[in-house]
């Protein structure tokens, strides 16, 4: 009789506090992983080669081959690294959610997940923002500093970069939602399981 009362109390207690369902978080993490991985891959493989004729000697034109690679710009390098780290983080979190439910360190599992999620959000936001402003500079140039825009010459490079940026911003929004959900999971009172002694 007392046990039934306790069970009823437990059920009533847990239904009062809404807990984010496990599969929602997992789906969001999967989507964020795909978004950041797509951003990494698209920007990492971003390369365009153009052959220009610079001079004509007699009848043979002298061609110069110019490439636009993402490594030329440190902001894009940071972007690739940040999104790569974010996708690794999401992958590790998904694996931990699916296969390592019992892994814990002094009861700090949820705290570590929340803090790592916040750090990843910070990383992605830094990388995406730097790359976005560099892309804006490449697209519009800067008349005050006499920097010409490069997007009219390297259209595919700019298009791919823009696509990677959009994927990264989508990943950023998803990571923000995931981070908020992790923090909520951390702050709600944990449901007392059967191993704890009820006084």
């Amino acid at each position: 009789m007392a046990l039934q009362n306790e069970d009823k109390l437990e059920v009533g207690y847990s239904s009062l506090q809404p807990k984010p369902k496990k599969w929602v978080l997992l789906m969001l993490r999967l989507l964020a992983f795909f978004a950041t991985a797509a951003a990494t891959v698209v920007m990492g493989l971003n390369k365009e080669t153009k052959t220009l004729v610079v001079a004509t000697v007699g009848t043979t034109p002298i061609k110069a081959t110019l490439t636009a690679k993402f490594q030329h710009t440190p902001a894009f390098v940071f972007f690739v690294i940040a999104n790569g780290l974010a996708s690794i983080h999401n992958l590790v979190m998904i694996m931990g959610d699916l296969f390592g439910q019992k892994l814990d360190y002094k009861g700090l599992r949820l705290a570590m997940i929340a803090i790592l999620d916040m750090m990843t959000v910070a990383l992605i936001s830094g990388g995406a923002s730097a790359a976005a402003f560099m892309a804006e500079l490449g697209k519009n140039g800067n008349s005050h500093a006499r920097w010409n825009s490069i997007c009219d010459k390297y259209k595919t490079f700019c298009d791919h970069g823009g696509g990677a940026l959009i994927a990264s911003f989508a990943g950023l929004i998803l990571m923000l939602i995931i981070s908020v959900m992790s923090i909520i999971k951390l702050l709600i009172k944990p449901k007392p399981d059967s191993t704890t002694v009820v006084p």
């Binding site: 110019l66 636009a68 030329h72 710009t73 440190p74 902001a75 940071f78 002094k106 009861g107 700090l108 705290a111 803090i115 916040m118 959000v121 910070a122 936001s125 830094g126 990388g127 995406a128 923002s129 730097a130 790359a131 976005a132 402003f133 560099m134 804006e136 500079l137 490449g138 800067n142 005050h144 500093a145 006499r146 920097w147 010409n148 490069i150 923000l176 981070s179 951390l186 702050l187």
Partner: protein, 162 residues
């Protein structure tokens, strides 16, 4: 008397407010005019949208930091302050990252895109922008320390339980 926890938190918030204010002022007053042979040039922070974003973001955080300094302890708004701290840290990281990307191009140029560095001609402007970025970086680190400290204070009962 003021508890040491509250004193430390207040001190950190004051440092954060001071450095964000310094970053805004340094960036907003960076201005240089000069002539290079017959060409007159002018460098202002409004030339680049990245620097404008930096000023706006840090100004918002300065106002927020100023308001939080006067929040009485024990008020329930402190939970909201914790959440807002996280949001504003993200804003700060994004703005300082963008400003640093553009400042790096200004200092070193990008030879493959035929972008020449401008710091040679406008050295005073460059130095002031560098100072603003350094102040912004210190503010960011202070805010991160504040956030970790708040989370630690919030989770302390949880640590004792484990």
């Amino acid at each position: 008397m003021i508890k040491p926890k509250r004193l430390l938190s207040l001190l950190l918030r004051f440092i954060a407010f001071g450095t964000t204010l310094a970053a805004v002022i340094l960036m907003a007053t960076s201005h240089e005019k000069g002539t290079f042979f017959a060409v007159s040039y002018e460098a202002k922070y409004t030339d680049t949208p990245a620097f404008k974003y930096f000023v706006i973001a840090y100004a918002i955080v300065t106002v927020y930091g100023f308001l939080v300094l006067f929040l009485p302890p024990g008020s329930p708004i402190w939970r909201l302050v914790l959440a807002l701290d996280l949001v504003f840290i993200m804003l700060l990281i994004s703005s300082i990252s963008a400003a640093m990307a553009i400042a790096q191009v200004g200092k070193n140029g990008n030879p493959r895109a035929a972008w020449l560095p401008v710091c040679g001609q406008v050295a005073k402007f460059c130095n002031q922008v560098t100072g603003a970025l350094v102040a912004g970086f210190i503010a960011l680190i202070t805010y991160i320390i504040l956030l970790l400290y708040s989370i630690y204070n919030l989770l302390n009962p949880l640590f004792e339980k484990a």
